[in-house]
């Protein structure tokens, strides 16, 4: 079984990294095989990468809807389960219900946004991953997951473009 070697190239600036990605594409590395790991969020557009999709907004909306339903339940259904007369007000008055529904909608939206990040990013992830600690020092790393067999050529090209280091990516515990 051929071992899939992954390469990790570390750059310290956006321009060399963007050039490198262009060159890698020309060398035949597909966009799907590349991943950019960076210490600050560098937008995909800056590096010439395809836009990343995310489920978070949709999950947020779904959470808001769920929260809204919980609010409706608390405000309109629970008083009718055991009706108690208070202060001459109707059993399910609308103004207090608005408050309850609003708060529960916001809570639903925000909790599902938070959980959505975990869900989309597959957090928590404690398995060994391809990473080098320099990345959190602000470096931009390009992880090439399915490189063509001639890795020396790629290494030379990347080094010429200004990569600080190009080495075989080891999956290690973070």
């Amino acid at each position: 079984m051929a071992e899939e070697k992954s390469l990790l190239a570390v750059f310290s600036d956006i321009d060399p990294a963007a050039d490198a990605i262009e060159q890698l594409r020309l060398l035949g590395v597909h966009d799907d095989c590349m991943n950019v790991i960076s210490g600050i969020p560098v937008t995909e557009a800056m590096l010439g990468r395809p836009s990343q999709w995310t489920n978070v907004p949709r999950l947020a909306l779904g959470g808001a809807a769920a929260g809204f339903l919980v609010g409706v339940f608390l405000a309109f259904i629970t008083p009718n389960m055991y009706t108690i007369q208070v202060g001459g007000q109707p059993f399910t008055p609308v103004p207090p219900a608005v408050i309850v529904m609003f708060e529960m909608t916001m809570l639903g939206m925000l909790i599902s946004t938070f959980v959505g990040v975990f869900f989309d990013s597959l957090f928590p992830n404690y398995r060994p991953m391809h990473y080098v600690p320099e990345i959190s020092d602000g470096k931009i790393a390009i992880l090439i997951e399915c490189p063509p067999p001639d890795t020396q050529k790629i290494t030379d090209v990347l080094k010429k473009l200004g990569a600080e280091s190009v080495k075989e990516a080891e999956a290690q515990h973070l």
Partner: protein, 474 residues
Amino acid sequence: MADHKHHTSHEEHLREQHLMLDPMPRGKMNEMVMEAMHTTSWKFWLVFGLLAAIVAYALFYKWGVMILEGLGVAGVNRPSYWGIFLVNTVFWIGISHAGTFISAILRVFKAEFRRPFTRAAELMTTFGLVQAGFSIFMHMGRVWLSYWLMPIPNQRGLWPNFHSPLSWDLLAITTYLLSSTMYLFLPLIPDLAMARDRTPDGTWQKVFYRTLALGFRGTEGEWTHLRNALNIFAFAIIPVMFSVHTIVSWDFAMATRPGWNSTIFGPYFVVGALHSGMGAVVMVLAVVRGTMKNMKYFIRPEHFEAIGKLMLIISMTWGYFFFNDYIVQWYGGDKWTKELLHWHEAGPMGWMWFGMLICNVAIPWAILWNKKWRSTPWLLFIVGMLINVGMWFERYIIVPISLTINRMPFTWRLYQPGIEVWLGIGTLAFFILLYMAASKLIPLIPVWEVQEGQMAHSLKKYGRETVVTVSELE
């Protein structure tokens, strides 16, 4: 020669002033933040120990005494059924609003100066809400049965009463507490990853950071999800913030008491919360800058200057709402309200009313207009502290002092605080204690956001003038 010096020194001056124009390599900044976390002097431990002792005695022991003996050991009576407990609750929720203002509203408005202290402010939100929670549980007569107020299915077959502002309070404060903790945690993840990377194996700190960092690496996907979530949070938590203190104000506005039944309480309380909150933020930042290593690089006089401007505007807005509330009550002629207003100004606690106006309006207006004074951290610390004192007075006037005057003169009686003083001191000590603990456990400065900001700022020459420009990187 003089000209040449002037040009370079103008640029140098800008760089010295503005953190965003004074970039350092990220690795160096990371190191500085980690160093600030790890450096603890004996003074730190002395204060920490003292605070822990105060918390153990004034908060936990005294609360135990109150639970066993009943609320009789506090100063509440007829007609002041609510006293300092509610004052402290409103006070702490008010302080917690500053965090959200800075990390959410300033983010939405792209105010770049917020970058180094969003986390310091957000920590205040979470810890302030904890103290508010303590204060509200304390004031309950049978706190051991407080779980009856939770809106979950239960075997008693009864749900809480959603006609009651206290039930809305519960929902709103829970929502706010959870949301702001989540909003604190999300941008913290990349910094926890950084701390994880810089902590040697085999220590409990490494386990701590590795667990909390959740395996964050900084891939495109992770950053996209994170930034998307932060945008949603920033926008969504603003209405939550406004609604929380409005709902707290409705505890009073929904009541039939003279002086309480005012429709302006909603926005009045929100602005009051921002007022005391910003005062507290500036106090915390002054202390952090003065006591923690390397913080003088991150937190500069420019930040105090910017916050000072906000404090002045908020102080003016508070004055507007206060006057609005006052003049409508004064003009109306309802005899009970008139009696109450007279009691505020000329009663035995009239000094508090004047003190409130001096601290909330006179002093900020006298000091914060001056740019040089605004940039002085210790001066702003004093102004912030006085604002907080003034705002505490304001809530004391609204709760126990206003409760004294009601429509049954036979029951009028002055409120005298009892054990609430101890418990209030306990919550304050606990707040500071939690903050000190957090400053040593998690990186206080969001370095990735600072670097992001520094990337976006540059100096550009327009004609002969060198000007700061900000690019929109998102």
